[in-house]
């Protein structure tokens, strides 16, 4: 299996060999084919970019999970506030009872 690049090289070599031969239709057609292939090679150089169209990064699960964490954060904020209140009250009560506490 020959690539366009390889075919172009082969045809270009052939064209060089025919340089000294008199001009005729086949020589013209060969030259035209070489030029057409050069254009194809230029376009083909961008082919790797088209393979990028494949599957991308799957983040749908993350999108679904983020709101759940949001809810957890709200719950956690409430919990933290409550725990803070408990600690405050506990310290207040302990101090009122004469217990020495740091902080």
């Amino acid at each position: 299996m020959m690539t366009i690049d390889e075919l172009l090289t082969q045809l270009s070599d052939l064209s060089l060999k025919l340089e000294s031969a008199p001009d005729d239709a086949t020589k013209f057609d060969l030259e035209m084919l070489i030029l057409q292939l050069r254009k194809q090679v230029l376009a083909q150089a961008f082919d790797p970019l088209t393979t990028l169209a494949g599957p991308g990064v799957e983040v749908e699960q993350l999108k679904l999970l983020i709101p759940q964490v949001d809810l957890a954060i709200i719950t956690e904020q409430k919990r933290v506030m409550l725990v803070e209140r408990i600690i405050l009250l506990a310290k207040s009560a302990l101090r009122a009872a004469g217990v020495s506490l740091a902080g």
Partner: protein, 200 residues
């Protein structure tokens, strides 16, 4: 006397506090989480810069490719012209000359229009690159947002860490009972305060 009387409520208070406090997130975990978010933010900026550079490079390559295709097309058209000129020199009749001229026009038009799909293919490839860049950037934003959420959640555990560490030995949180515990503590606290006032 005072301390003896209030020993049980104080124990209750402490117990309630102990069982109502969450576990303190290790400093290392919080540090890693914060650093991860920070690094991801910096990486996101690098990614955007990289995409911009690659896209600029690709745009330049498209210009070069288009220019080269136009150049080859001109070269081919010159070849068609040379062939037509040679043919016109050999043509014996006006009809024959007209056929050669018509063929030249047809060849040049076909040659030039053949470039459109080629240039379109190149433009599509670069458009795919840019679209994929956008998709990757969007996906990374979701990943970054998720990391931020986790970090936010982890940071919440910093609340009154010293006090929690002092009072907490066991991990145990029954969120459903928290409100009643708070109420109980509030009541005990009020009682204690009142007793304190009476004692004074």
């Amino acid at each position: 006397m005072y301390r003896t009387c209030h020993c049980t409520p104080l124990l209750l208070l402490l117990t309630a506090t102990v069982f109502s406090s969450g576990c303190v997130t290790p400093v290392a975990v919080r540090g890693l989480s914060a650093q991860l978010v920070h690094t991801q933010l910096a990486y996101s900026a690098s990614l955007r810069g990289y995409f911009a550079a690659v896209e600029t490079f690709a745009d330049a390559q498209v210009k070069i490719a288009d220019y080269r295709i136009d150049e080859i097309t001109s070269q081919m058209n010159r070849e068609f012209g040379r062939r037509a000129t040679a043919g016109l020199g050999r043509a014996a009749t006006p009809d024959e000359r007209q056929r050669i001229i018509d063929q030249l026009v047809k060849d040049v038009a076909a040659n030039t229009s053949a470039d459109l799909p080629l240039k379109g293919k190149i433009a599509d490839a670069v458009a795919t690159l840019k679209q994929r860049d956008q998709e990757l950037a969007a996906a990374y934003l979701v990943i970054f947002t998720a990391s931020q959420k986790l970090d936010e959640y982890i940071r919440l555990k910093k609340a009154d860490e010293v006090a929690i560490a002092e009072l907490t030995r066991a991990v145990g949180l029954n969120s459903e009972k928290i409100l009643s515990i708070v109420d109980a503590i509030a009541k005990l606290s009020t009682d204690l305060s009142q007793n304190m006032t009476k004692a004074q």
